[in-house]
Amino acid sequence: MTSVTQGSIPEVVEKTIGESLEQRTAILGNISDLGPPDMVHLAKMVSNSSTKKPTTGTFFYYTGTDVSNSATIAALLHSIADIIDEKPQLWFGKHKSWKVCEATYCTYDAFSEIDARVKVNFPGGVELRVLDSEGNEIASTDRLWLEIYVCAIVRALITADNDSSDFSSVVEIRKVNPLLTKDQTKLFFEGFEKLFFEGTKLGCSEKLQVATNGNNNLVDAFLACVGLTGEFDEAIAIIQRLRSIDPSIGFLEAKINLMADEEVRAVKIMHDIVDANPLDGEALSLQAEFCIEKKRLDLALPLATKAMNSAPWYFKPWSLLVKTYIRTGKYEKALLTLNSCPMVTHKDKYILKRINNPKPEDMHLPLPVDVTLDKVSTLNSVDVAIEHNRVDPTLMGLPAASLKSTFAEAYNLLTEIVHKTGWEMLLKYRTHVFVMEGEFKGAKGEEKTDKQDGVEGIKKIDKLNSSTENYKRKSLPETPESPQSEKSEKSGKSDYKNKQLCERWLDNLFMLLYDDLRVYTMYKAEKMHFEAQKVEMKKTTLEWELTGLVAQRLGHKEEAASCFKRGLDTRFSPRCTSQLLKYYLEHHSSVEHASKNEPANDLHDKILELTVNLLVWNHRWYCGFSPELILSLKDLVNEVGRVKIESEVKVQFDDKNTGIYDLVLDNLSFLDTYGLIEKEE
């Protein structure tokens, strides 16, 4: 098992001691989401100093800590202080013998909008303060502690495995597994049930306009917890009790049964829900999704339609309907339906955010030395930055890469169409169902009503519509003939009346799609050229990574995987690794069920390697919690056998005792705790 060392505690140096605490207090009034990550503040002095007063303040962030009560928090602070005091710290190039005088742990509770702070004075003394949004102190209660605990776990689960390739993401943070013991999970489940009807206070996914009882961050975290721990029975029991109060959340019971592979039960539950309320949009959507997965599109179509009619403000059923149309080859209907989708604007995904902007020179980001792996732990960030600055400019800043929320989903649907039809045909379908510029002159000279201007207004705000002009200029040539129309029965009417105006956001997705396709087509042409010349194509790792992402967005999974693989030939890249891992895991399950062409052992080896690399990379960045990697290990162990995996890890990665075996063991022992893998012998 790994343990915390000085090398795995990042710190940011304050200008004045305690300023981060003050800044945290100052922002309390402006928090409208799950809030900032937990934070540890340390007041330190040089240990042989005569004054006995702290000379330096530092802080760093945390997720996943057990914050169920102040004693547990105080114990954590004690252990951090011990680790720092234990021996001289390598501090900005020098060895400093620090002594921690005071340590404070802050954790935000979004239910009651309060910040709980536990302060430990060394050698003795623990103090608890709970601050409301105005910074006033209030009394703590058991209920409040439950909220604090649940909110911290929701933050940890919701933000785990977030793609952190963004430059603005928080690095001075330790992420630990919030569900290490069964007691922790049990307490979270208890809290979930007690706080369920306040879940909407925690906000919801960026794909949803408004949080509901059945769909919000608390529920998402609960489902993540259930998926990770496999505590299906307990979870179902809880949902059953809650359902009796609010029937609209029945679909969650079906969902968990599906997660538990209890399909028959899930089908029965969904059936009963819509029998009782044929307008339950969530249950109908789940049913439709189920039928799409079962490839029963004949059943999915009426279900998605009904779901959409029952909840027309909700993006999900619309997207299922579009998907059904695509998979049945009804591309014109798919485009028209896509055009009517209710988009969620002005909403961002919840991510962990700093409370202030520290300067790079104030950041102490040590290299943990207990676990190392050549090329991964030692990835040189300066080299990566140089690569970044020299990257092929056509690959950088492709706007489709930064699509958010429902716009990203709509883009996926559009790429699914183009993947099937090709660009030329897609343009024909587009011309056929949407009014093109100049086609309709009726509105000439008439002013717009406020309402219309209003819609325009929103769209202007919308980050998507960077440049329709641009698009028009460089759009591929369109041919005048229309493809066979699905609507030819209405041909008696004047043509424009059968068409819709294309929403501006959709118009812009076409533009982004064009950009992606252009890059991808160029890549493929280049590749063919090189192959014909029998010369190897050279790209930097970042360029392979970005090319792979374009291919992936366009649905060319194999091509994407080969790009990521090529990217990893030169150096380690966390994004290439995790994308490739995802590809193999997906591939893996299809291998299992379908063909036996690929030697399975080979695949297992690759998955293990990628998983281990990422575990080490995470560990290097003080992160010990990744549900994706845990689940990847779980599958491996259950297929290959625990003994085999353990020995392979030892032989292949840890022959020099570099701590990798311990790291893998951390995760295996978690799986062990929940009985998800065979017991250690």
């Binding site: 399909e263 089908v267 009014v435 509105a443 009417k493 819709q500």
Partner: protein
């Protein structure tokens, strides 16, 4: 049944602005308007609850639910038995 007379105030590619006698503005899909309409035209819109349609829809939905339940809800779908 509700029947109203509406004046076409503006006609766009996909939306028309219709005005009621009480100066409600209705945005109405052009596609649902009869042919030959232009600004200033008057249209009659009759709106009626379609009990028959509701009944039909309800029956179809029940049948759909039954099919799904029969197909997936009784037992795990069997692997096709290969005859030897």
């Amino acid at each position: 049944m509700v029947e109203v007379s509406l004046t076409v105030g503006k006609l766009d590619a996909s939306l028309a602005l219709l005005l009621t006698k009480d100066h409600h503005i209705i945005e109405f899909p052009t596609i649902l308007l009869p042919d030959g309409i232009s600004t200033g035209s008057i249209v009659k819109i009759a709106c009626e609850r379609d009990f028959e349609g509701e009944e039909k829809e309800s029956k179809q939905f029940d049948a759909l639910q039954k099919t799904i339940y029969e197909t997936f809800g009784k037992h795990e779908p069997k692997e096709p038995a290969l005859k030897v």
